[in-house]
Amino acid sequence: MNGETENAREVLFQVKDLHVTYRRPGQKAVEAVRGVSFDLHAGETLGIVGESGSGKSTIAKTLMLLQPSSGGEILFRGTNIASFTSAARRQYRRDVQMVFQDAVGSLNPRMTIRQALEEVRASQPEPGPGAEELLDRVGLSKAVLDQYPRELSGGQCQRASFARALAVNPQVLVADEPVSALDVSVQARILNLMRDLRRELGLAILLIAHDLSVVRNVCDRVCVMHRGLFEDVGPAEDVFDHPRSDYTKNLLAAVPDVRRSLAARKQP
């Protein structure tokens, strides 16, 4: 949005020159992220778009301490997350949460929704909101409480994962392709949910997606990623309406435009 309010906001994440390399014994090392820097402010939604294999999910994994970085640093409120003590790491797990692309798979198949939510609650030093309140917050009815993930639809599972992530009262939500496995009408509802959560809870959201329209609709700022590097960074409208890099231009041109193609078809 506008620069003034953004500057006033607290900076939650500062990512500086992040490199991530996958090394597997007997295989060539793959440098998935090759020097990426960005900030995430409190309450903003930052999008990272890019094609498959561009390294966007790797950034999410590295932020969540699921994958070590090989260079650069990630500061959360000024502290490098790689040098966390175990107490700081536990607090970090409460401040930053994640939802995954595989909505059904991110819930334990042997646990009911209630068990999954109660487990988070039991693991907290001071119990957060109850299971029913959490479901209410993400727009699910109490009827799903005693159901297993396989009995629910993809959209319902994704809402349940949002509820589970919210159970620790986080400030940042990392959403790794949260809607790309869902069908279009459900996508829109999940995106609305994210917008609501941001407004009501003041969540900062890092949204990772490959679908440009998804990012455009929800995000304040956008980073366009290609082969481990950011090609374009800026406010969403700027990036989409006045793309600077060639890659972003090509990416935008590749989006099928229904009106344009209809118009083209009318001409003989």
Binding site: M64, Q97, Q101, L107, N108, E119, S123, V168
Partner: protein
């Protein structure tokens, strides 16, 4: 469990019924011999009657008598009791060991996994029979030596199966989500992954049980197994002596008992694997 029963075929249910019948016989025999031992009497399977040696099956001795005039059916029942002790006892050693090591290796990977794989390879490379011999030298001949010997060699199969499955689950989103929520490794391993691989334990048990029973028979036949009690292996060793003179009943009934028990267990194991293994599950539904 009830859902599992419903998905079993008629054959599978029949197998379960046969196993239950075996178990009841074995438990009855075990209880009877225990009572006799407590009362300081000679248990039924050891009552010697030299004047009634080598009697063919009759109304008093359903399965005939052996070289000392002991009742073959009583000995067979006692043998079933020993077989169940071996089948369950070795599983109680092998399955926890295999599950624990498989979980550790599969979940942590890296050096832990290398150690687990090395342990598996080392144990698997030792000839099982020699290992069992060595253990029975230390633990003394008898059922304890057999339990330890079989239990400490057969966990490798359990461990490999569990490890491979855990490795698949380790990268699943629900495990990642659990890590992101800050759950401890122990909690993730035992509360999250283990319930999702637990069906393998049931399959492994049903595969290992008949294997252990057969191994025990073999060891006892060689004379380094159960002592002083009529294990099926001991009975076969005994029955071998006069088989050429037409004393067929002891050999026949013992081998039949082993054959049926191993057969129904193997069939049940096959069926359980088909029902519970997720890879095959989709094809069935």
């Amino acid at each position: 469990m009830k859902a599992l029963w419903n998905r079993l075929s008629v054959g599978g249910r029949l197998c379960l019924a046969v196993i239950a019948a075996y178990f009841l016989c074995a438990a009855w025999g075990g209880a009877r011999s225990l009572r006799a031992r407590l009362a300081d009497e000679t248990p039924a399977y050891n009552v010697v009657n030299v004047s009634a040696r080598y009697q063919p099956p009759s109304a008093t001795h359903w399965m005939g008598t052996d070289n000392l005039g002991r009742d073959v059916s009583a000995r067979l029942v006692q043998g079933a009791w020993i077989s169940f002790q071996v089948g369950i006892g070795t599983s109680l050693i092998a399955i926890p060991l295999g599950v624990l090591l498989g979980l550790l290796g599969g979940y942590f990977g890296g050096k832990t996994d290398s150690l687990v794989v090395w342990l598996c390879a080392t144990v698997a490379s030792m000839p099982g029979l020699l290992f069992i011999l060595a253990i029975s030298l230390i633990a003394g001949k008898g059922i304890l030596g057999i339990l330890l010997g079989i239990g400490l060699t057969t966990w490798v199969g359990v461990c490999r199966t569990i490890r491979a499955e855990v490795m698949k689950h380790r990268d699943r989103a629900y495990v990642q989500a659990a890590r992101v929520l800050g759950y401890s490794h122990l909690r993730i391993m035992f509360r999250h992954i283990l319930p999702n691989v637990a069906h393998l334990i049931l399959i492994q048990f049903s595969i290992r049980f008949p294997g252990s029973v057969a191994t025990e028979v073999f060891i006892s036949f060689l004379g380094i197994g159960v002592q002083g009690e009529p294990s099926w292996g001991v009975m076969i060793g005994n029955a071998r002596m006069r088989l050429w003179q037409g004393v067929w009943w002891e050999m026949t009934f013992v081998t039949l008992a082993i054959f049926v028990l191993v057969l129904v267990f193997n069939h049940l194991a096959d069926e359980l694997r088909d029902i519970l293994d997720p890879a095959l599950r989709n094809e069935r539904n």
